[in-house]
């Protein structure tokens, strides 16, 4: 695939085995990174198909294509696939590929565990997606899995819980691997505060994963025992409380959204300097900002639960702590902007995606601030306004970050430049359609359209049509993305080691494509 037999030059090392065996047995961080990225792309397309089915149904009021129960299955599995199958594995793939190259390590610290965690993830999603074919269909209680509704899931219930356990274990292993690699394998002289920001963002993400993924695993385990073993963690009749699940879920769930966005922050912090031809403004502030965001993410979870009922003091606390997150986030946006100030900018595809990230993620941040105001949230909660908010932070936020990273490092992976014109087409189509798709959802939400329903009152028709058109435009544009990548893997103009005009960092000192084995001898740092 990405890197044929380029390792030939390395006398004492064999290249990878040929064919399928290579992908089943490899412990090479680049191979595993590639597998994660390809897997994530596949999940992105599968989750995307579900989204298109949802948007097709919502194009008009009334029921056209799917019945309500299947609609709920689609929204639930779409979200699970996108969050745990597309965004998270993509960032893990990038971590696998790039962290060793950025810190001058020969591989990840725990290569066999690395391979295991990939296949665990793979089977987790095969299991999850197969629930569409069991009696009763896939889980349909929403990705938040709230009881008591989720306890009405049929045959799919244990399968979904087991899939969540597996993917949780997989991401925890991935996180342990990243931490051990960064802590123990940095090249001599690569002090923590010299480390590239992408690696930094992942170090902190990894700690977040270790802190909250097991809590989620515990929560779904309690669901499982409530279902099978008559415990009553969440069963009011038996003395439990369903609201407790919401606390457990969001104690995980809010940090989880930062697990998805922090690596993107890291990526943007690599790309903006490169195409501004200036070092990042306020490097240390960037590190501390990520750390404070990670810390704050633990004390804001109940902003998802304002409407559940909580004392006034609770509402005040969670409103204010949530708003506090805007401060370090503001620092980051400020520093990215200042990095560009008086830089000599150029607008290659990675930079275009990074700039769109900057604008559109910020819109998502603002709608987040609106939602953080408890009395206002009573109106917005569970409407399309929330849907608009989280899609702005996740699609032109996390997903654009990932696409920017792919366009940034693809020449390093494949050794070829990609077709810049096509990539720019991909960018413009994506950036325009993403707004056509999600911006109207703000209006729908403010006007009172609830989320997670297959049908709606007719006054919402116009904006839903616009949104659906945007959805199909966005979906089709991604085929262009796949095409650009395939063409770049197959061939194209040879990429130099530096690839870009103003490369900075160790990954640009190795040839393109990056040889199968790099930094076997630790690089010299000046």
């Amino acid at each position: 695939m990405a890197h044929g037999n380029e390792a030939a030059g390395h006398g004492n090392h064999d290249g990878p085995p040929k064919g399928l065996v290579r992908w089943l047995t490899t412990t090479n961080h680049k191979d595993i990174g590639t597998m994660y990225l390809v897997f994530s792309l596949a999940m992105f397309l599968i989750g995307g198909l579900m989204a298109l089915a949802i948007r097709a149904e919502l194009f008009q009021p009334g029921l056209q294509f799917v019945n309500p129960s299947f609609f709920n299955q689609l929204t639930t599995v779409h979200a699970l696939v996108m969050v745990f199958g597309a965004v998270m594995p993509a960032t893990v793939g990038l971590a696998n590929w790039m962290i060793p190259l950025q810190i001058g390590a020969a591989d990840m610290a725990l290569p066999r565990m690395n391979l295991f965690s990939f296949w665990l993830l793979f089977f987790a999603f095969m299991l999850l997606i197969s629930t569409f074919f069991v009696p009763g269909g896939a889980p349909a209680a929403g990705w938040t899995l709230y009881p008591p509704l989720v306890l009405q899931t049929g045959t799919a219930f244990p399968m979904a819980i087991f899939a969540i356990h597996m993917m949780g274990a997989s991401s925890i292993m991935g996180a342990i691997n990243v931490i051990v690699t960064i802590v123990n394998m940095r090249a001599p002289g690569m002090t923590l505060l010299k480390m590239p920001l992408f690696s930094w963002s992942w170090l902190i993400t990894a700690y977040l994963l270790i802190a909250v993924m097991p809590v989620f695993a515990g929560g779904v385990t309690m669901l499982l025992t409530d279902y099978y073993f008559q415990t009553s963690f969440f069963n009011a009749a038996g003395g439990g409380d369903p609201v407790l699940f919401q606390h457990v879920f969001w104690f995980f769930g809010h940090p989880e959204v930062y697990i998805m966005i922090l690596p993107a922050f890291g990526i943007i912090s690599e790309i903006i300097p490169t195409f501004s031809r200036k070092p990042i403004f306020g490097y240390e502030a960037m590190v501390y900002a990520i750390a404070s965001i990670a810390f704050l993410s633990f004390i804001v979870w109940a902003h998802h639960m304002f409407t559940v009922g909580m004392p006034l003091a609770g509402q005040l606390f969670f409103t204010l702590s949530t708003m506090l997150i805007a401060v370090p986030t503001g620092v980051k946006v400020f520093n990215w902007t200042t990095t560009m100030w008086r830089g000599s900018l150029s607008f290659e595809p990675p930079m275009l995606f990074a700039l769109a990230f900057l604008f559109l993620f910020t819109i998502g941040g603002f709608s987040g601030l609106m939602l953080a105001i408890a009395p206002a949230d009573f109106q917005y909660h569970d409407t399309y306004f929330v849907v608009a908010h989280f899609h702005y932070v996740l699609v032109p936020g996390a997903v654009f970050g990932i696409m920017a990273a792919v366009y940034y490092w693809l020449p390093k992976w494949t050794g070829h430049m990609y077709d810049m014109t096509l990539a720019k087409w991909h960018f413009w189509l994506t950036a325009i359609f993403v707004n056509v798709l999600f911006f109207p959802q703000h209006f729908l939400g403010l006007a009172g359209m609830q989320r997670r329903i297959p049908d709606y009152p007719t006054q919402f028709t116009d904006w839903n049509m616009v949104s659906s058109i945007g959805g199909f435009g966005f979906g089709l544009s991604q085929l262009l993305f796949v095409w650009v990548i395939i063409r770049c893997v197959k061939g194209g103009q040879r990429a130099t080691a530096g690839v870009w005009d103003w490369p900075h960092g160790l990954e640009w000192t190795v040839p393109s494509p990056a040889p199968y084995h790099t930094f076997e001898k630790a690089p010299e740092l000046h």
């Binding site: 899931t153 342990i176 123990n184 809590v215 009011a236 009749a237 407790l244 009922g309 003091a313």
Partner: protein, 183 residues
């Protein structure tokens, strides 16, 4: 990989695995912590809501009137008719009152129900005292049996001044289905 590094990797992995286990345990610790939190903040624990309280009904505050509303719900695992006899009452804090619900077993078999109470607004919960309640014990119903259920309560005289209306709500569960999972 050189031996010392491998050793330090192993140590770090062990520490991280320990952290993971700690987080997992913390998830479960949230269950008792949740109750503790509710108790400390006065929201009231679930156990407390279903426990008999003693009430000193000697000196009611007749200058103050509070409305107590009654509501009922039947989760979809039960087949009952279940409703309060009166929708609301005006009460004086400190005096003992009685209210009734009726329940009718619609299942064609003997059934046992368990009522789970809740009070809103939440911060009023600890000022609402039940001295006797059908929710303290499971209620057995013969086939097609219909009967009245009693709750005896007082509203504490210390009820914060801002509150002039309380809602007492019961959900009535079929005990047989509670344990059954996918009911």
């Amino acid at each position: 990989m050189e031996a010392p590094r491998r050793k330090s990797n192993r140590g770090l992995v062990a520490r991280l695995v320990l952290m993971t286990a700690g987080s997992f345990a913390f998830g479960f610790a949230l269950v008792p912590l949740y109750d503790v939190f509710c108790e400390v903040t006065g929201i009231g624990t679930r156990a407390e809501l279903s426990r008999a309280a003693t009430a000193d009904a000697s000196a009611p505050d007749v200058n103050r009137t509070v409305v107590v509303e009654f509501t009922a719900s039947v989760p979809d695992n039960g087949s009952w008719e279940f409703a309060p006899v009166v929708a609301s009452m005006e009460v004086h804090p400190g005096r003992l009152y009685e209210a009734h619900y009726t329940a009718h077993n619609l299942a064609d078999r003997e059934t046992t129900g368990q009522a789970v109470p809740s009070i809103t607004p939440l911060r009023a919960a600890r000022y609402f005292r039940k001295t006797e309640c059908f929710c303290f014990t499971p209620q057995k119903f013969a086939r097609d049996e219909q009967r009245e259920l009693l709750v005896r309560f007082t509203v504490d005289r210390d009820l914060p001044p801002g509150i002039d209306r309380l809602t007492l709500s019961y959900a009535f569960y079929d005990v047989a289905h509670v344990a059954g999972g996918a009911g």
